[in-house]
Protein backbone atom coordinates (compact mmCIF):
# COMPACT_ATOMS: atom_id res chain seq x y z
CA UNK A 1 0.00 0.00 0.00
CA UNK A 2 1.30 3.42 -1.06
CA UNK A 3 -0.48 6.50 0.27
CA UNK A 4 0.30 10.13 -0.60
CA UNK A 5 -0.96 13.06 1.44
CA UNK A 6 -0.98 16.83 1.01
CA UNK A 7 1.12 18.25 3.87
CA UNK A 8 2.30 16.53 7.04
CA UNK A 9 1.41 12.93 7.88
CA UNK A 10 -0.87 12.12 10.80
CA UNK A 11 1.58 9.57 12.18
CA UNK A 12 -0.46 8.07 15.07
CA UNK A 13 -3.49 7.53 12.84
CA UNK A 14 -1.51 5.98 9.95
CA UNK A 15 0.44 3.61 12.23
CA UNK A 16 -2.75 2.61 14.05
CA UNK A 17 -4.62 1.97 10.79
CA UNK A 18 -1.80 -0.14 9.38
CA UNK A 19 -1.58 -2.09 12.63
CA UNK A 20 -5.30 -2.78 12.59
CA UNK A 21 -5.27 -3.78 8.90
CA UNK A 22 -2.71 -6.52 9.56
CA UNK A 23 -3.38 -7.40 13.19
CA UNK A 24 -5.02 -10.76 12.47
CA UNK A 25 -2.91 -11.75 9.43
CA UNK A 26 -0.39 -13.77 11.43
CA UNK A 27 2.59 -11.43 11.03
CA UNK A 28 5.02 -11.73 13.92
CA UNK A 29 6.82 -8.45 13.21
CA UNK A 30 5.69 -4.89 12.37
CA UNK A 31 8.63 -2.51 11.86
CA UNK A 32 7.82 1.12 11.06
CA UNK A 33 10.29 3.83 10.09
CA UNK A 34 9.08 7.39 10.59
CA UNK A 35 10.94 10.32 9.02
CA UNK A 36 10.52 13.64 10.84
CA UNK A 37 11.69 17.11 9.75
CA UNK A 38 14.51 18.34 12.00
CA UNK A 39 15.59 21.89 12.73
CA UNK A 40 18.91 22.47 10.97
CA UNK A 41 20.54 25.15 8.81
CA UNK A 42 17.80 27.65 9.63
CA UNK A 43 15.05 25.93 7.63
CA UNK A 44 11.37 26.45 8.42
CA UNK A 45 10.48 23.08 6.95
CA UNK A 46 10.73 20.95 3.83
CA UNK A 47 8.63 20.68 0.70
CA UNK A 48 8.22 17.80 -1.74
CA UNK A 49 7.31 17.19 -5.39
CA UNK A 50 6.38 13.65 -6.43
CA UNK A 51 6.13 12.04 -9.86
CA UNK A 52 3.47 9.45 -9.23
CA UNK A 53 3.57 7.19 -12.33
CA UNK A 54 7.18 6.11 -11.72
CA UNK A 55 6.79 6.12 -7.93
CA UNK A 56 3.89 3.69 -8.30
CA UNK A 57 5.84 1.28 -10.52
CA UNK A 58 8.90 1.51 -8.24
CA UNK A 59 6.75 0.72 -5.21
CA UNK A 60 5.00 -2.17 -6.98
CA UNK A 61 8.35 -3.81 -7.73
CA UNK A 62 9.24 -3.64 -4.02
CA UNK A 63 5.84 -4.99 -3.03
CA UNK A 64 6.54 -8.01 -5.27
CA UNK A 65 9.93 -8.54 -3.59
CA UNK A 66 8.24 -8.35 -0.19
CA UNK A 67 5.53 -10.79 -1.24
CA UNK A 68 8.20 -13.31 -2.28
CA UNK A 69 9.42 -13.27 1.34
CA UNK A 70 5.93 -13.49 2.79
CA UNK A 71 6.06 -9.82 3.83
CA UNK A 72 4.03 -6.67 3.14
CA UNK A 73 5.30 -3.09 2.73
CA UNK A 74 3.27 0.02 3.45
CA UNK A 75 4.47 3.51 2.69
CA UNK A 76 3.09 7.01 3.20
CA UNK A 77 4.65 10.24 1.94
CA UNK A 78 3.80 13.94 1.92
CA UNK A 79 3.37 16.27 -1.03
CA UNK A 80 3.96 19.98 -0.57
CA UNK A 81 5.06 21.62 2.66
CA UNK A 82 5.94 19.85 5.92
CA UNK A 83 7.10 22.03 8.79
CA UNK A 84 9.66 21.41 11.57
CA UNK A 85 8.94 18.43 13.82
CA UNK A 86 6.22 17.17 11.52
CA UNK A 87 6.63 13.92 9.58
CA UNK A 88 6.79 13.46 5.82
CA UNK A 89 7.57 9.76 5.45
CA UNK A 90 6.57 6.44 6.95
CA UNK A 91 7.65 3.03 5.68
CA UNK A 92 6.59 -0.19 7.40
CA UNK A 93 7.23 -3.84 6.87
CA UNK A 94 5.09 -6.66 8.20
CA UNK A 95 6.60 -10.13 8.07
CA UNK A 96 6.20 -13.51 9.74
CA UNK A 97 9.60 -13.21 11.50
CA UNK A 98 11.57 -10.19 12.65
CA UNK A 99 14.80 -10.81 10.71
CA UNK A 100 13.12 -10.46 7.31
CA UNK A 101 11.39 -7.24 8.38
CA UNK A 102 14.56 -5.70 9.85
CA UNK A 103 16.60 -6.44 6.72
CA UNK A 104 13.83 -5.44 4.37
CA UNK A 105 13.13 -2.07 5.94
CA UNK A 106 16.83 -1.20 5.63
CA UNK A 107 17.06 -2.21 1.95
CA UNK A 108 13.76 -0.58 1.11
CA UNK A 109 14.53 2.79 2.69
CA UNK A 110 18.01 2.88 1.11
CA UNK A 111 16.58 2.25 -2.35
CA UNK A 112 13.79 4.73 -1.65
CA UNK A 113 16.40 7.42 -1.02
CA UNK A 114 18.28 6.55 -4.22
CA UNK A 115 15.45 5.81 -6.63
CA UNK A 116 12.00 7.10 -5.65
CA UNK A 117 11.07 10.07 -7.88
CA UNK A 118 10.56 12.59 -5.09
CA UNK A 119 12.24 16.01 -4.94
CA UNK A 120 13.01 17.79 -1.70
CA UNK A 121 13.18 21.55 -1.14
CA UNK A 122 14.24 23.51 1.95
CA UNK A 123 11.77 26.17 3.07
CA UNK A 124 14.01 29.16 3.79
CA UNK A 125 12.64 32.67 4.40
CA UNK A 126 9.52 31.93 2.42
CA UNK A 127 11.44 30.46 -0.52
CA UNK A 128 11.52 26.87 -1.81
CA UNK A 129 15.18 25.89 -2.40
CA UNK A 130 15.96 22.59 -4.15
CA UNK A 131 18.13 20.39 -1.89
CA UNK A 132 20.54 19.38 -4.65
CA UNK A 133 23.47 18.67 -2.31
CA UNK A 134 21.42 16.07 -0.39
CA UNK A 135 19.94 14.49 -3.51
CA UNK A 136 21.04 11.38 -5.41
CA UNK A 137 21.11 10.97 -9.18
CA UNK A 138 18.98 7.97 -10.17
CA UNK A 139 20.97 5.00 -11.52
CA UNK A 140 21.63 5.52 -15.24
CA UNK A 141 21.48 9.31 -15.07
CA UNK A 142 23.44 11.55 -17.41
CA UNK A 143 22.86 9.84 -20.75
CA UNK A 144 21.50 13.02 -22.35
CA UNK A 145 24.77 14.79 -21.54
CA UNK A 146 26.84 12.32 -23.55
CA UNK A 147 28.56 14.01 -26.50
CA UNK A 148 28.60 12.26 -29.84
Amino acid sequence: MLSLYDGALDVPVILKNWYEEEATNNYGAYIPFVGTVRSEDGIDGLSFDIYEPILNSWFSSWQEKAKAKGAVIKMAHSRGDVMLHESSYIASVFSPKRRVALEFIDEFVEDFKASAPIWKYDLLNGKRVYALDRSTAIKGSGILGEKK
Binding site: I54, S115, L144
Partner: protein, 73 residues
Amino acid sequence: MIRVEFLGPIQKPSLELDIQNLSELAAVLQQDDEMSEWLTNCAVAVNDTLVSSLEVPLKDGDKVSLLPPVCGG
Protein backbone atom coordinates in the same frame (compact mmCIF):
# COMPACT_ATOMS: atom_id res chain seq x y z
CA MET B 1 5.47 14.57 -32.09
CA ILE B 2 7.31 13.67 -28.91
CA ARG B 3 6.40 15.40 -25.64
CA VAL B 4 9.36 16.16 -23.36
CA GLU B 5 8.62 16.89 -19.69
CA PHE B 6 11.00 18.36 -17.12
CA LEU B 7 10.20 17.12 -13.62
CA GLY B 8 10.76 18.43 -10.10
CA PRO B 9 13.06 21.43 -9.78
CA ILE B 10 13.77 21.95 -13.49
CA GLN B 11 11.85 25.13 -14.17
CA LYS B 12 11.19 24.58 -17.85
CA PRO B 13 7.92 24.19 -19.76
CA SER B 14 7.29 20.96 -21.68
CA LEU B 15 8.47 20.72 -25.29
CA GLU B 16 6.86 19.13 -28.35
CA LEU B 17 9.61 17.90 -30.67
CA ASP B 18 9.74 16.09 -34.00
CA ILE B 19 12.54 13.61 -33.19
CA GLN B 20 13.14 9.92 -33.86
CA ASN B 21 15.26 8.84 -30.88
CA LEU B 22 16.91 9.97 -27.65
CA SER B 23 20.18 10.84 -29.39
CA GLU B 24 18.32 13.54 -31.29
CA LEU B 25 16.81 14.78 -28.04
CA ALA B 26 20.29 14.93 -26.49
CA ALA B 27 21.51 17.02 -29.44
CA VAL B 28 18.58 19.45 -29.08
CA LEU B 29 18.94 19.86 -25.32
CA GLN B 30 22.74 20.24 -25.50
CA GLN B 31 22.12 23.48 -27.43
CA ASP B 32 20.27 24.88 -24.40
CA ASP B 33 22.71 26.46 -21.91
CA GLU B 34 20.13 26.37 -19.10
CA MET B 35 19.99 22.57 -19.42
CA SER B 36 23.72 21.81 -19.42
CA GLU B 37 24.02 20.85 -15.73
CA TRP B 38 20.73 18.97 -15.68
CA LEU B 39 21.76 16.81 -18.63
CA THR B 40 24.69 15.40 -16.65
CA ASN B 41 22.59 14.39 -13.62
CA CYS B 42 19.10 13.64 -14.92
CA ALA B 43 17.63 10.19 -15.45
CA VAL B 44 15.43 9.65 -18.49
CA ALA B 45 12.11 7.84 -18.78
CA VAL B 46 10.20 6.97 -21.94
CA ASN B 47 6.48 6.54 -21.30
CA ASP B 48 7.24 6.36 -17.56
CA THR B 49 9.84 3.58 -17.83
CA LEU B 50 13.44 4.50 -16.99
CA VAL B 51 15.95 3.89 -19.78
CA SER B 52 19.75 3.64 -19.65
CA SER B 53 20.72 4.11 -23.30
CA LEU B 54 20.26 6.73 -25.99
CA GLU B 55 19.57 3.95 -28.49
CA VAL B 56 15.88 4.04 -27.74
CA PRO B 57 13.59 4.64 -30.72
CA LEU B 58 10.71 7.06 -30.24
CA LYS B 59 7.34 7.01 -31.97
CA ASP B 60 4.66 9.62 -32.42
CA GLY B 61 2.87 10.30 -29.13
CA ASP B 62 5.67 9.07 -26.85
CA LYS B 63 6.45 10.96 -23.65
CA VAL B 64 10.01 11.53 -22.46
CA SER B 65 10.58 12.68 -18.87
CA LEU B 66 13.75 14.07 -17.31
CA LEU B 67 14.17 13.23 -13.63
CA PRO B 68 16.75 15.23 -11.69
CA PRO B 69 18.50 13.86 -8.52
CA VAL B 70 15.98 12.68 -5.92
CA CYS B 71 15.67 12.90 -2.15
CA GLY B 72 12.48 11.57 -0.63
CA GLY B 73 11.79 11.19 3.06
